[in-house]
């Protein structure tokens, strides 16, 4: 897929909490085709400490309104600067980068999309995409507390939503892997993105029930386009770049101990 360097404009910046912001970007030109699971490399301007671009997942693309959504969790100065962007400001992005989640060949397949924290970011777009292809979509979203569970209504547009929180303040109490839906249904495909321990737990559950499982990995990236070889992960084929061979990996390719 052809990659672009684009200047997009902030159309809305919705502060979801003091930790999360939803950026809605737009452009005069039509947004390019983007697949679910792909990411962008964002240039951060006006920071004395941020030097490199920051990888951020594509949260959602609305081709009708020509909107690109990014869900930002404030971690350090780069994400802070992004969360502080004002309507009308310009953001420079490289996109679309990386591979994407794979689409089941069997249209009857039972699908589960499991996200934790900011890891839900790519799943909204994936869910929307799967639904548009006629699949039934189930989201399972976990967080520490109800304040980590953001914008539920958006997910509900595209599928069923199941929730866990560690403190029980929303949905079932516990971790995503403890949610009753995992016992009630038998999923064929599990897509996940979130903290590594969560993804490992999901992967081991998937292995047990023989489901196909795809995880989205993070890594320290310099270029985002396969040029620097800084972002490798160890796979059964040796070191591969997460920014080009990933971020989405079928769990069977990774050398995870699960």
């Amino acid at each position: 897929m052809k990659k672009f360097m684009l200047d997009l404009v902030i159309k809305k910046n919705i502060s979801l909490s003091n930790q999360y912001a939803l950026l809605i970007l737009t452009s005069h030109d039509k947004l390019p085709e983007i697949l679910p699971g792909q990411f962008a490399e964002i240039r951060v301007d006006g920071s004395s400490t941020v030097f490199l671009r920051r990888p951020i997942s594509i949260h959602f693309v609305d081709y009708e309104t020509n909107e690109l959504w990014l869900l930002i969790q404030i971690i350090g100065d780069g994400t802070k600067k992004m969360a502080d962007l004002k309507v009308g400001e310009i953001v420079n992005l490289l996109l679309p980068l990386g591979n994407s989640y794979s689409i089941p060949t069997n249209s009857e397949a039972k699908l589960l999309l499991v996200g934790g924290g900011c890891g839900v970011a790519p799943l909204l777009y994936l869910g929307a995409h799967l639904k548009s292809l006629g699949f039934d979509v189930n989201f399972l979203i976990g967080g520490r507390s109800s304040t980590d569970i953001l914008q539920l209504c958006e997910y509900e547009r595209f599928g069923n939503v199941f929730i866990t929180t560690e403190d029980g303040s929303l949905g079932e109490k516990g971790f995503v892997t403890q949610h009753s839906v995992l016992r009630a249904s038998n999923f064929d495909y599990i897509y996940t993105c979130g903290p590594t321990p969560m993804m490992k737990a999901i992967a081991s559950y998937a292995a047990k029930i023989n489901a196909i499982c795809e995880v989205s990995l993070e890594n320290t990236m310099a270029c985002g386009i396969g040029a620097c070889l800084c972002c490798v992960t160890d796979t059964i084929q040796g070191h591969v770049c997460v920014c080009t061979e990933g971020p989405v990996f079928n769990i069977t390719k990774l050398k995870w101990q699960i």
Partner: protein
């Protein structure tokens, strides 16, 4: 439009802007963003005789105005390059140079012999300065004796342009430059990365899997510029300057200090089209200052 053509050693370039090894893949990674054939030369990834898996993750740390990397020369080896990559890159209408690394002299020689046979590769950049491999690599570049030895041996088998890339992690880079010049290097390029380190204080751990790594980016520019100036004063062969070049002004500074050409590395990560902007910016500078040829600004700094 000024004339940007330049001859560096045995190379004929359409402009003095090259891409630095290890930061531009094999070129194709950037071809969505611009016409990469406009670049004066593309120096591809560090290549070794045999395949290398490189270092474990994590390989990168951001630092103030720079970055550390510990890639460790991950590549599939020279045979793979010849079979699978050469057939594609040879069609890019610019100079494609291979950056050649090794840990023992025999490996350098064997790989250089193979590369010597590739018609569309007009030269190699001999990397005797990579700080991210345990044996050899930087060790060659940090003593005059071993630097001279590896250049002598490679020169014997490699007939085309031989650019030697110097390590900045030395007391006197001019002495190393003189030593490799004496052995027949066609040009020297500098600087490779400076050996550095980053620590995560909260975790009390080094950030890189290899503890130390190579520092690049604008942070190192003042050091690189000084070294290019020193080496250009010392040697007669052309000097290619690099280290932290982010824009045309930086590139021009290196040329004023004595560089015949420049390379752009880390800046490609921040702006994949930076090479084109630098080429255009040099042209603009030459026009504004009334220069007809880019060669006029080489070493044109007034003291």
């Amino acid at each position: 439009m000024a004339n940007l053509d330049i001859k560096i050693g045995k190379l004929q370039l359409k402009n003095p802007v090259l891409t630095a090894s290890g930061t531009f893949g094999y070129g194709s990674e950037y071809s969505d963003f611009m016409d990469i054939s406009r670049i004066g030369g593309i120096i591809v990834k560090g290549t070794t005789l045999r395949e290398r898996q490189g270092n474990p993750y994590p390989r990168m740390a951001e630092t103030p105005s720079g970055m550390l990397n510990a890639v460790g020369l991950q590549n599939k080896g020279v045979e793979y390059f010849v079979k699978n990559i050469y057939p594609t890159v040879k069609n890019i209408d610019t100079n494609i140079l291979v950056n050649l690394s090794g840990s023992i002299i025999e490996d350098y020689i064997e790989a250089a012999e193979i590369l010597n046979e590739l018609d569309a590769i007009p030269g190699i950049e001999l990397n005797i300065s990579c700080p991210n491999v345990k044996e050899g690599g930087m060790a060659f570049g940090t003593s005059c004796l071993s630097a001279a030895q590896v250049v002598r041996e490679v020169r014997r088998v490699y007939k085309k342009d031989l650019m030697v890339k110097l390590s900045p992690n030395v007391t006197s880079i001019s002495e190393i430059a003189l030593a490799v010049e004496a052995e027949g290097a066609d040009s020297v390029s500098l600087i490779n990365t400076l050996l550095g380190m980053a620590i995560n204080a909260e975790k009390r751990k080094p950030i890189l899997s290899t503890i130390t790594g190579g520092l690049s980016g604008p942070a190192v520019k003042p050091i690189a510029l000084r070294m290019v100036y020193q080496v250009a004063q010392a040697v007669k062969i052309p000097v290619i300057g690099l280290g932290g070049i982010m824009n045309a002004t930086d590139a021009i500074e290196f040329m004023l200090a004595g560089a015949s050409g420049i390379q752009i590395g880390t800046a490609n990560f921040i702006d994949p089209t930076v090479t084109i902007k630098v080429i255009d910016g040099i042209d603009e500078y030459l026009n504004r200052h009334g220069y007809k040829n880019v060669t006029e600004i080489i070493g044109a700094m007034e003291i």
